[in-house]
């Protein structure tokens, strides 16, 4: 598609761009004449001032329902001395928005905040220089309120930002040298501004990816086996009987390698055709099956690495008074976005426009360019929010699939995954085996700690590329979030002797893996925080007091105290009050993190000893994420993390046979429902003078530990595997 055609395309879809004024859509369109990323060293890349004295901030982070798009504007509002209603942002687009890297690892505020802040400060400085000339007054006599610059003492001598640059470029280099405001001058940061996009989300005006349509498009669906096999095995077509969809007029089969899809003008025809098309797949067994999974993992040939080795672990264990040693197991869990991923692609012989819900538009552009065989600057990727993704769900896969179908069909193709595609072909959060040993002295001081973890890395390619191109099933190099993590595994305690060992197993023999919100941390803290808790029990101490006496870091102590206070924690030993009643209650406490920030949680649960059903009644979570731009957003994030953790600890488990995944919908992969949902309390430990760190993940691991410890408090039994299904609970209670 030529640049001109691309302009027309944007216009054709322009009606769909809701939430931004036409003027902003036009401004974005002008920028879009040149493929991105725009030069990050220019102020114009980051923001534009309009004639009506409003501003557009170009942000490279995706709104995922976490409030990032509003929070980043709060930062800009303070630096620019504008009100929130004077600020807008635009959709992520490789031709429009800067490349700030992907929206993952809770990076929006952590990494994006400082960039937006310094760019806004530098723009303000440039504006003040212009105002100084215009008003003929030195810069230090100027003050700004709501975008109106006035001279101290003579308020009638004033000029607006809009009058200074209105819709014209700054043409000023972004050096990062303009001073930013001290936190004491923040007016908007730290306050509970409501989220910009919420009114449209409740009225039905918000344009989710699933709503986007363009003229002349076809509807597509992929055709795959129901439920993936081993990552290394992919899927193999033995035969396709195209006559099986002869009765559906207008439906066409498209194929490249083992990638099979159907397209039709009518969506329902595409759905029916995908369901009806007879494909014979290779069904040879390739998986260990979920029942024997953990033994298989433990027996696998692993690549071992010493992550931490501190002082004399063996010696410390042999001299200790209290010792715990236990193996714990965690399942594969699915992202399972509530609305399956969707993408719309228009691929021509020399260009491509792909609209999708990627968390990284620039990263996806690179991959799409390779798959389509087009130069990267000829590929444009636009972000539309889908339903919550919580990490690497199938958004890249569906974008690649839509692009492949469009290339094959020669027309724009809108493709939404079916429920079984999303559940069955996810990049699952990897399963884990954790073996923990920990020891304390007679005074309840932790003296030794060892964690050994087994899991595989994330898969490095998407299913569509794997099937279409025969791309080999590569894995990610092991990063911090894919292996035993020293911060989550015992790192919150001051322990003199430590050993952490990572055992990486071959991912090709298992399910596709990917980052699922707080990757591996729930598994780590389910294991590690139970071991710590059990030491407290053996030492005859209250679990909160025991933790506190083994901590020295003020941030960790701060969140632990905050959550204990919110939950009105009263000191007593765990499992000191066991009852024979049918329904027993327990409370537990836990600490956890992801890579940054500090999380703590308390869970109050009920266990039905006859049915084995466990329900969380009230959960508390505290987070220290440095400077929190909007405490309301973070409280909402904490609430979500607590509920999602309850879901993952009680319900969620990907099941599979030797031939494929069998948990393909909400019945076979149940999640927490309304009736079982706990009350939640979120506490933000605000530190305005510290840099912002992530706030979207860190309470989850703490909550996993708290739930497990509450179970022990209620029953006197340790759960060694989650989810805590009735069957597992009854087995533990009998044992």
């Amino acid at each position: 598609m030529s640049d001109l055609a691309r302009r027309d395309f944007l216009r054709a879809g322009g009606a769909l761009v809701v939430g931004f004024s036409l003027r902003n859509a036009m401004a974005a369109e002008e920028r879009a004449l040149k493929p991105g990323p725009p030069d990050p060293k220019q102020i114009d890349t980051w923001l534009a001032i309009h004639a009506d004295n409003t501003a557009t901030v170009y942000i490279g982070f995706a709104e995922l329902g976490q409030g990032a798009s509003t929070a980043l504007l709060q930062i800009a509002a303070d630096e620019l001395d504008l009100e929130m209603k004077q600020l807008k942002t635009v959709r992520l687009d490789t031709s429009v928005t800067p490349n700030q890297g992907g929206t993952y690892s809770s990076a929006s505020i952590n990494r994006g905040g400082p960039q937006v802040r310094t760019a806004a400060a530098e723009a303000r400085q440039a504006l003040l220089q212009m105002a100084s000339k215009k008003l003929d007054a030195p810069m230090d006599r100027l003050s700004v309120s709501r975008g109106v610059v006035s001279v101290a003492g003579t308020p009638n001598r004033s000029v607006t930002y809009g009058e200074l640059v209105g819709d014209k470029p700054f043409h000023v280099a972004f050096t990062g040298s303009a001073p930013v405001k001290p936190p004491s001058e923040y007016k908007v940061v730290g306050t509970r501004v409501p989220r910009n996009e919420v009114p449209d989300k409740v009225s039905g005006k918000y344009v989710y990816m699933q709503h986007v349509r363009v003229p002349g498009m076809l509807h597509g669906r992929v055709v795959r086996p129901r439920g993936q096999r081993a990552f290394g095995a992919g899927a193999k077509v033995m035969a396709i009987d195209e006559s099986s969809i002869r009765g559906i007029p207008g439906a066409r089969v498209l194929r490249r390698g083992d990638f099979v899809g159907v397209v039709a003008e009518n969506e329902w025809d595409a759905v029916k055709a995908a369901r009806q098309l007879k494909v014979t797949w290779d069904t040879a067994p390739t998986l260990p099956g979920s029942a024997g999974l953990h033994d298989h993992m433990r027996a696998a040939k692993s690549t071992d690495r010493m992550v931490v080795e501190k002082r004399d672990v063996s010696g410390a264990f042999s001299g200790a008074v209290h010792v715990v040693s236990q193996s714990y197991r965690a399942p594969y869990q699915a992202h399972a976005p509530f609305g399956p991923n969707c993408a719309l692609a228009d691929v021509t012989s020399d260009s491509a426009l792909v609209m999708c819900s990627t968390q990284d538009v620039y990263g996806s552009r690179n991959t799409l360019s390779r798959i389509l065989g087009l130069p990267v600057e000829k590929v444009r990727v636009q972000y539309y929010e889908g339903s919550g993704t919580y990490g690497h769900s199938c958004y890249d896969d569906v974008a690649q699939a839509a692009a492949l179908l469009s290339q094959l069909a020669g027309k724009p193709v809108r493709l939404q995954f079916m429920r079984w595609d999303e559940h069955g072909w996810d990049n699952y959060g990897p399963a884990h085996v954790g073996e923990v040993r920990a020891a304390a002295d007679a005074a309840g001081k932790i003296v030794a700690y060892e964690y050994q973890g087994w899991q595989h890395n994330w898969s490095g390619i998407e299913t569509s590329a794997q099937l279409a191109l025969g791309t080999p099933p590569t894995e990610w190099p092991g990063g911090a979030a894919q292996q035993v993590n020293p911060r989550a595994c015992g790192g919150m305690y001051a322990i003199p002797n430590m050993r952490l060992v990572n055992h990486q197993i071959p991912g090709k023999d298992y399910l596709k893996g990917g980052w699922l919100r707080s990757p591996l941390d729930l598994s780590f803290c389910f294991a590690s925080e139970q071991a710590i808790d059990h030491l407290a029990y053996l030492a005859g101490m209250d679990p909160y007091a025991f933790r506190k006496q083994n901590m020295t870091d003020a941030h960790w102590i701060g969140v632990l105290d905050a959550v204990a206070q919110a939950a009105q924690w009263t000191p007593r030993k765990a499992a000191a009050d066991l009852s024979g009643a049918k329904v027993v209650r327990g409370r537990g406490i836990g600490l956890g993190t992801h890579l940054t920030s500090y999380g703590a949680a308390v869970a109050e649960i009920e266990v039905n000893r006859e049915t084995g059903r466990v329900v969380a009644k009230h959960m508390y979570g505290a987070i220290d994420a440095g400077m929190v731009v909007n405490p309301g957003f973070v409280e909402n994030q904490i609430g979500g993390q607590l509920v999602q953790t309850a879901s993952r600890m009680f319900k969620e488990e990907v099941t599979f046979s030797t031939t494929g995944v069998t948990s393909l919908d909400w019945n076979s992969y149940p999640i927490l429902r309304f009736e079982e949902c706990p009350e939640v309390t979120g506490v933000v430990v605000q530190r305005l003078d510290e840099r912002s760190t992530g706030a979207g993940e860190e309470v989850m691991a703490a909550a996993a530990g708290a739930i497990a410890n509450a179970f022990f408090d209620a029953t006197g039994k340790r759960m060694t595997e989650y989810p805590l299904t009735p069957q597992r609970v009854l087995a533990a209670l009998r044992g």
């Binding site: 409740v202 509530f338 609305g339």
Partner: protein, 169 residues
């Protein structure tokens, strides 16, 4: 070509072009370009696609459009007018009280499930104006949320019930 179907959506008649076995959801999304009902599972398990059919919450992903022939369909977009008609208000509000309460409680995260949540809660409050917490939880139990927004949705439904009681007085 089968006989042309005529359905009422948000109080307006509409002639359906799709085949009669087409699920109502695809007609609402593709022929009427409505954004309230949306695909979640296609299996009536999640509530993403919910609409009201003659005031009763219905999963549009498994309801053939022929099944609503001659019936009145209300989507998220039509809830304010549906509420105004029920309450005999002179003018339709911009938002149904449940929608407004979702904003007031900042209950939303990704918001994809909110179509079903709002439709179901509106149905509940039309039948049980002052539900207990347990009644709300039971009524909403067939609607899933993946972000974990249930606690704030619960508060919003309670708030909406209160608002509606005040309107009634």
């Amino acid at each position: 070509m089968a006989k042309e179907l005529s359905i009422r959506v948000n109080e307006r008649p509409f002639k359906v072009a799709s085949a009669p076995d087409t699920p109502l959801l695809y007609v609402l999304a593709n022929e009427l370009q409505l954004q309230g009902p949306r695909f979640g599972c296609g299996l009536a398990q999640c509530g993403s696609c919910s609409v009201l059919v003659n005031g009763v919450e219905t999963r549009s992903c498994v309801t053939p459009v022929s099944a609503v022939d001659g019936k009145s369909v209300t989507t998220l977009e039509g809830l304010p007018a549906w509420y105004a008609a029920q309450k005999k208000l002179a003018q339709s509000p911009v938002l149904h009280p449940v929608q407004q309460a979702m904003i007031d409680e900042q209950a939303v995260q990704c918001g994809y499930c909110f179509n079903g949540m709002i439709v179901k809660a509106s149905e509940l409050l039309s039948k049980v104006p002052q539900p207990t917490e347990a009644q709300i939880r039971t009524a909403m139990n067939g609607h899933l949320c993946r972000c974990g927004s249930y606690p704030r949705i619960l508060k919003a439904v309670q708030r909406a019930a209160q608002t509606m009681a005040e309107v009634a007085r």
